[in-house]
């Protein structure tokens, strides 16, 4: 394998490692919310530092790559995409940390009616699925999958748009559960952000794959 490909692979693998870590943060966040697991929530919050270190490390690797390899064409687009996905992953990490902080504020057990009405778990599962699929799309260089997952963001937006009204109504009926309701509303807002951030990452995948128009155009009209 050419040296440049070895370096690109190292970069991609580092990003995938970070992707795993953030995925763990995000899916554990769901567990912490559902089970009222404050200890788990604390652990998620602590992982933020590790994610930040990945962010810095990947930035530096990209910088070195630019300086040493002067990438062009698909190589250039790949590293640009990695840089931007890195930034977005770091933000998803922050968002997961935020969810964990609100998870600490929830009193358990949660009211199943509230969960049902807000559809917060449906939303959470959708966000997680998008996130995981985006990782696969990156790993497999698959812009089709990236395009498909962007469409799923609609589900998140739909639930998010209704959440204010749903929660207001719930609070009126259960004035003793205001704090919990507001914490849940905040989590819904965070999940909506996750949808946007994953969409950004998916767009980067499409950019670096598809600007590469590898149509083997042969414009030949040979004179005899």
């Amino acid at each position: 394998m050419p040296h440049i490909d070895v370096e690109l692979d190292r970069l991609r693998n580092k990003l995938l490692e970070m992707w795993d870590l953030v995925e763990y943060q995000l899916s554990s966040g769901r567990e912490a919310v559902v089970n009222g697991d404050k200890e788990l929530a604390q652990r998620i919050i602590k992982l933020d530092r590790k994610v930040n270190n990945f962010d810095i490390k990947i930035d530096r690797m990209c910088e070195n790559f630019f300086a040493l390899f002067n990438p062009v064409a698909v190589d250039l687009r790949t590293v640009l995409a990695i840089l931007k996905i890195n930034t977005n992953l770091e933000r998803v990490g922050d968002t997961a940390e935020g969810i964990a902080r609100f998870a600490c504020k929830l009193n358990h057990p949660l009211d199943p009616e509230l969960i049902e009405l807000t559809k917060v778990l449906v939303m959470y599962d959708e966000a997680l699925a998008m996130f995981t699929e985006c990782r696969t799309a990156f790993k497999e260089d698959d812009p089709k999958q990236a395009k498909a997952l962007i469409k799923r963001d609609k589900t998140l937006n739909k639930i998010y748009r209704k959440s204010d009204a749903v929660i207001t109504k719930y609070i009126k009926a259960h004035p003793d559960r205001i704090a919990e309701s507001l914490a849940l509303l905040s989590i819904i807002k965070k999940l909506e952000r996750v949808g946007d951030q994953v969409t950004n990452m998916a767009e980067e995948i499409i950019f670096y794959r598809e600007a590469k128009v590898v149509k083997h155009r042969r414009k030949k009209k040979k004179k005899e």
């Binding site: 050419p2 440049i4 002067n70 990438p71 062009v72 064409a73 698909v74 190589d75 250039l76 687009r77 600007a211 590469k212 128009v213 590898v214 149509k215 083997h216 155009r217 030949k220 009209k221 040979k222 004179k223």
Partner: protein, 253 residues
């Protein structure tokens, strides 16, 4: 607004004896812009470049089919005077090739051949050309010294000054900086950037970064074919053809 084409090749085929060196090349090059030719060794870049000032005419067995137009006129037409053509189309080679004469005589060489004797004109042209070639300050005190005593980078800029002295409108450069250190090379690149205000420049280079920095358009050749011709920006961010992509990303073969 698109500038008019200065140079144009129409269905150009070139042969060295039986060897088909250029195959149906069609390309139009913009006036007062820099066009870079890139491609693996032996793909025909120099052959193509030399068709623009008919330098290939000297090679036994060389012939072309098709047309080369300069300002819309066929330069291979019967009534074209090759010396007149060369006044219009100057050339700079890979290896600096100053004559074993003084710096001054090198620069005014072309004018002397044209029969110009007026001292004042010669001196003025010499200074102007050396300034344009960004070497005046380095040589102004030793114009009567031998050109061979200059460094490689200085010799190359001197050769550029010599090409400019005959006031061409096109300058052909065949790997003008490949034998130079990074600083001299950077000076040549700066110079190209300055010169394109007044000249149409075609440059052959093996240095991808250099092509990226100096040129407005890039043409990629492969085995005598013009594979891709595009704005340099497009070529280096999203080339069309797989062969171009493999070449510029260094994954050829």
């Amino acid at each position: 607004m698109k500038k008019p084409s200065k140079l144009e090749a129409i269905n150009l085929d070139a042969y060295y004896g039986d060897f088909h060196a250029l195959k149906s090349i069609n390309v139009a090059m913009e006036e007062k812009a820099v066009t870079a030719f890139i491609g693996p060794s032996g793909c025909g870049k120099s052959t193509f470049l030399r068709t623009f000032n008919r330098m290939n005419d000297y090679i036994d067995g060389f012939r072309i089919d098709g047309q080369i137009l300069l300002d819309g006129r066929d330069i291979y037409a019967n009534d074209v005077q090759v010396d007149e053509l060369r006044k219009e189309v100057g050339m700079v080679f890979q290896k600096p090739n100053p004559f074993p004469k003084s710096i001054f005589e090198n620069v005014v060489y072309g004018l002397r051949i044209q029969g110009i004797k007026d001292k004042k004109i010669l001196q003025e042209t010499c200074e102007k050309s050396l300034r344009q070639a960004a070497i005046w300050d380095e040589v102004k005190d030793k114009l009567d010294k031998s050109a061979l005593a200059l460094s490689g980078g200085q010799q190359q800029r001197l050769c550029i000054a010599r090409a400019l002295a005959i006031q061409p409108s096109v300058i052909l450069m065949d790997e003008p900086a490949s034998a130079l250190d990074p600083i001299s090379s950077a000076k040549i690149e700066e110079l190209i950037y300055e010169l394109k205000k007044d000249y149409t420049i075609v440059i052959v280079t093996h240095n991808m970064q250099q092509a990226g920095r100096v040129s407005d358009y890039t043409a990629f050749f492969y085995m005598g074919e013009l594979v891709e011709y595009a704005k340099t920006k497009t070529m280096f961010t999203s080339p069309h053809d797989t062969r171009t992509q493999n070449y510029i990303t260094g994954r050829f073969g």
